[in-house]
């Protein structure tokens, strides 16, 4: 997908592995949003870290040093985002070194290509990526970013010069304290050293003066793929680096003084004959092992937040330091770049409609942002998002937003479960082993470290009591993990805990076939009465429980009876003929309820049921009618005159799906919280559901509105915001891919299904990527056959269903050996 002009203003592609932190590639080619130091912070900037070019020509004389960045674009006034903020350090740098010229970016996560438009007699581009291989969490969790510069001499006279990379030694930094040049009170004792490896020159940035358990302790590596690279290991001002590019200089020696650090840089000399093309590779690797519980947690004693409880990082257990991480990556650079390229190309060249391929590929950024991390013990923990401009008024602008593993927000998340099922399964293990109370309930947050007291019998916060939707989601997710390859043994171990959970819900909330009473929900309120938001989750959970019971050879009749009675009762009580409303008891408060309103998420359980192949949980025609009306009433275009007291996630000419509307009046004086907001996660949820129901126009209206809001001009395509940046609810979007392609995978039966919608086909052909628990592949349908090309891992399948026709197969599918299934 191409980004030019204004689309580059908010463009910030986060590059980094799962749980490693990220550096963002800005639209002008600069590196921004340094979030490597175990904390999310879009304002984090490490100055003097850049790429530069010295280009020379003997005759006619030419000798220019240019910064490999485009001119910085001025920020917009978009509320609650900071992706367009130009760091002060970047502005200063551009005053010292002239930017090379405007950029044009082509990006599909996690790859980008930056083309520089320049007045120099050279064609230059940058390809940047971090390895991503679905179903291979280790490869996808590497703390590296690879940069490949391609230089081409289109003229008739030879050119020469140096391509250089510079990186500040930020070891010891906390990821937050502003850095002025090389000055920061957290610096001191930093040293840079040169390491020559076969074919590569490395600059190792460290601080051996720091205690080993210091939060900022770690290592950075800047590498260039030339054994004879010129090195300027320690310098302070960009002017010094320019001098180095212009000729030999004397580097400073010794550790940096207290309160300051060293910058370091490498320069790769090159000669380009007329018409010649060369490539130069750089890489940045990092290693910051000391992740602490340095965030305020919910429950009693939130003031304990910034503690020294050590969590560590899984990625720093895989390699002993950044040098090893770099070496390991370099050894497999080509292979992993090819795999990553195959992934992005599979999306770009798919038959998915419009920009859907690139947009859906961007969803993976959600789970590889600082929102999610994996501790040294291997536990996968996730915030709701990253504190930022949308949370400054209550929670600050850096760190994790609303820790941890919040069940009701993660209820929407699907991406991690499809790409890395083992990591998602770990979150279920935490729910059952750590979070579940003896009574059976599961508090909606976990406290870290996991051996600490959990949130039993205490006020939690957001909402106060264990969220019922989160608990119902846990049941659904358990069944999802089984279908994603967790296996029957795992289910057998978890089943008694699922039963306890369902028993608790049954005893506490079920009356006359429906859930009643206070039902704490993701809207951070005490949801009351009978409502289809909680109701459909309950019905889907019952169906999932029935299926799980049957898988284990147990009697699922009780769940089936509860489901049938509940389905009938909910439909009779709530369906207005137009949509599903909320019915309150006379003695229940109207505050924070929606009553006769039209809630966007009113059929969320049906969305779940479609993903888990559980069938309809409410009458199909009512579901379709309600969904159609959700889009009709809640999808709004134009927010100029839309005043409300909530957070503004859509404004001016945007199109967005409102959380709740009252098309026929009756809006309570104190309506359900967040009703006037637009949540990307809900939009993806409703859009995917519309696609499952065949309501293609409605779905694409929502998606196009969402994608236009996040097209780079006023918001970052890789940063969905809600209660913070990189908000995980957005990861509901993976279901859009599956709904568009009619893709379904069941690891238990080793079966996959394809039934693409008409908009995901080109005439009678189609192609797109898909994932299983053991690998990923592309499916390419021609007029007379289907080709399954495994790209990574392997596929273990026994049945492939194409547009309703079963094709039994009896073979594992490996990379390099495509399976062709005749379909005529």
């Amino acid at each position: 997908m191409h980004y030019i002009g204004d689309n580059l203003r908010h463009f910030a592609l986060p590059l980094g592995g799962l749980g490693t932190g990220t550096i963002a590639l800005a639209g002008n080619g600069a590196l921004r949003q340094w979030q490597l130091h175990n904390i999310g912070n879009h304002g984090g900037h490490v100055p003097d870290s850049f790429f530069a070019l010295r280009l020379s020509r003997v005759e006619p004389p030419l000798d220019e040093v240019r910064l490999l960045q485009g001119p910085s674009l001025e920020p917009t006034d978009t509320p609650l985002v900071t992706d367009d903020v130009v760091p002060v350090g970047e502005r200063r740098l551009q005053e010292v070194i002239r930017p090379i010229g405007p950029t044009r970016v082509t990006a599909t996560y996690p790859q980008a290509r930056v083309d520089y438009e320049t007045d120099l007699p050279l064609q230059l581009s940058l390809d940047v990526f971090n390895p991503l291989v679905a179903a291979d969490a280790d490869v996808s969790s590497q703390p590296v970013v690879g940069f490949t510069f391609t230089l081409h001499n289109p003229g008739e006279i030879s050119l020469h010069g140096k391509l250089a990379g510079a990186l500040q030694n930020s070891v010891g930094w906390d990821g937050v304290t502003p850095i002025d040049g090389v000055t920061c009170s957290l610096y001191g004792g930093n040293t840079n050293r040169v390491r020559r490896a076969p074919g590569w020159t490395q600059l190792v940035l460290e601080n051996t003066a720091l205690p080993i358990d210091h939060p900022g302790s770690g290592q950075l590596v800047l590498s260039a793929d030339a054994a004879d690279s010129l090195v300027h290991p320690q310098w302070s001002r960009p002017e010094e680096f320019v001098a180095f590019l212009n000729g030999p200089v004397t580097p400073a020696s010794g550790p940096s003084a207290a309160g300051s650090t060293w910058n370091g840089g490498l320069a790769v000399p090159f000669n380009l004959e007329p018409g010649e093309t060369k490539q130069v590779r750089f890489l940045i690797a990092w290693h910051f092992p000391n992740r602490y519980v340095d965030f305020n947690q919910f429950g009693p004693h939130p003031e304990y937040g910034h503690s020294r409880f050590w969590l560590g990082n899984a990625y720093t257990r895989r390699t002993p330091d950044a040098v090893a991480a770099a070496e390991s990556f370099i050894a497999q650079w080509s292979e992993q770049e090819a795999l990553t390229t195959a992934w992005t190309e599979a999306f770009e060249s798919s038959s998915l409609p419009g920009e859907a391929g690139s947009r859906l590929a961007a969803l993976v950024a959600d789970v590889r942002s600082p929102t999610v991390f994996q501790t040294a013990d291997g536990d996968v923990l996730g915030f709701e998002g990253v504190l930022g401009a949308s949370t400054g008024m209550w929670g600050g602008r850096y760190g994790g937003s609303c820790p941890l593993n919040c069940t009701h927000v993660w209820n929407y998340e699907q991406t991690l479960s499809r790409l890395f099922p083992s990591l998602e399964r770990n979150m279920r293990d935490t729910e059952y082993d750590v979070m579940q109370a003896p009574e059976g309930y599961i508090p909606h947050r976990v406290r870290a470290p996991l051996y600490m007291k959990q949130l039993w019998d205490v006020v939690i916060g957001g909402p106060e009591e264990p969220a019922l939707d989160g608990m119902l989601g846990s049941v659904l997710k358990t069944y999802r993990e089984v279908r994603q390859g967790a296996g029957l043994d795992w289910l057998g171990r978890r089943w008694p805990q699922v039963v306890r959970l369902l028993d608790h819900i049954h005893d506490k909330w079920l009356r006359d076939g429906v859930l009643r009473g206070i039902q704490p929900s993701t809207h951070d309120i005490d949801l009351c009465g009978v409502n289809s938001f909680m109701g459909t989750l309950w019905l889907a959970a019952l169906r999932a429980a029935e299926e799980m019971a049957l898988l284990l050879g147990e009697d699922g009749t009780a769940y089936r009876k509860l489901f049938e009675a509940g389905s009938k009762a909910y439909d009779e009580l709530l369906f207005t003929g137009e949509y599903y409303r909320q019915v309150l008891e006379p003695n229940e408060t109207r505050d924070f309820q929606w009553g006769d309103g039209c809630l966007a998420d009113q059929l969320i359980g049906q969305w779940w049921a479609h993903q888990l192949d559980l069938g309809y949980i409410l009458p199909a025609d009512h579901v379709r009618t309600a969904l159609r009306n959700v889009v009709r009433h809640n999808l709004r275009t134009g927010f100029h005159d839309f005043d409300h007291p909530y957070r503004v996630f859509a404004d001016v000419d945007d199109t967005g799906l409102l959380m709740c509307t009252w098309p026929h009046g009756g809006r309570p004086d104190v309506p359900t919280r967040y009703c006037d907001e637009v949540w990307t996660g809900s939009e993806y949820q409703v859009a995917a559901h519309c696609l499952y129901e065949g309501l293609t126009d409605e779905a694409m209206s929502i998606l196009n509105g969402l994608w236009t809001r996040y097209d780079g001009t006023r918001r970052n395509p890789f940063n969905p915001i809600e209660c913070g940046d990189h908000y995980i609810r957005n990861a509901a979007g993976w279901s859009v891919l599956e709904a568009l392609t009619g893709y379904d995978h069941n690891a238990l039966t080793k079966s996959i299904t394809f039934a693409p919608l008409a908009i995901a086909r080109s005439a009678d052909t189609w192609q797109f990527p898909f994932t299983t628990d053991t690998g990923w592949a592309t499916a390419t349908r021609s007029s007379d056959n289907l080709t399954i090309t495994c790209q990574a891992g392997h596929l273990d399948l026994s049945t492939i269903t194409i547009d309703g026709t079963n094709h039994p197969i009896d073979a594992h599918i490996y990379p390099g050996k495509p399976l062709v299934i005749p379909t005529t």
Partner: protein, 209 residues
């Protein structure tokens, strides 16, 4: 988080309910002593039948007190109606096991029967300790059956001082009641239940991984 401070505060603030609890428990116990004096299988079973439900109601009330949900004599009386059956369920288990041990001791003699006797006695002691947790876990947390007793035994293993402390408190009260003045017995059950509740809810978190 500890519930001990709440328990200490309640000693004065909830004096009426603690006194009422003492009257109820002593009345039930007195009836048992009247019908079947001494330690026998019959007295144990009768104790479970009469004292168990009362104790269940008292613990439900003290649970509510230490968890900041309020107390009061009215609540105690309501709990007597609502939680009596749950209390009986819990009390029956250690009572039946200990009664079997006593029966074994009375009916059979000789080394051959020492093994089952020892096993029954051990089980009885463990269940007695576990019951200090089990009442709260049953009447307030809603656990039942195997899960209830496994959870209670797990808590005994992780935090044995709580049941030992509760039993010590009961023993001291019994000692004072029989050696100084029997009126102490009227005051004892309330505080014993209160500290059993506080201990249970303080240590419950130990049940996770």
């Amino acid at each position: 988080m500890t519930y001990l401070s709440a328990a200490f505060k309640a000693l004065w603030q909830e004096l009426p309910v603690l006194a009422a609890a003492g009257v109820l428990v002593c009345a039930a116990s007195g009836l048992v002593v009247l019908v079947s004096p001494g330690l026998s299988p019959l007295s144990l079973l009768l104790g479970a039948f009469l004292v168990g439900p009362t104790w269940g109601a008292v613990v439900a009330t003290t649970d509510s007190i230490v968890r900041d949900s309020g107390g009061g004599v009215l609540l105690l009386l309501q709990n007597l109606k609502r939680r009596a059956l749950a209390g009986l369920e819990v009390a029956c288990v250690p009572a039946v096991v200990t009664a079997l041990a006593l029966l074994n001791w009375q009916v059979y003699s000789g080394p051959l029967f020492a093994v089952p006797l020892a096993v029954s006695c051990c089980a009885g002691v463990l269940l007695l300790l576990a019951s200090c947790y089990a009442f709260s876990l049953r009447v307030t947390a809603g656990l039942r059956g195997k899960r209830l007793w496994l959870a209670a035994l797990q808590l005994v293993a992780r935090a044995p001082l709580v049941p030992l402390g509760v039993l010590a408190l009961a023993f001291v009260a019994l000692l004072l009641g029989t050696s100084v003045t029997a009126s102490v017995l009227l005051l004892a059950p309330g505080p014993v239940a209160l500290f059993a509740s506080a201990g249970t809810w303080t240590e419950k978190h130990a049940l996770h991984r």
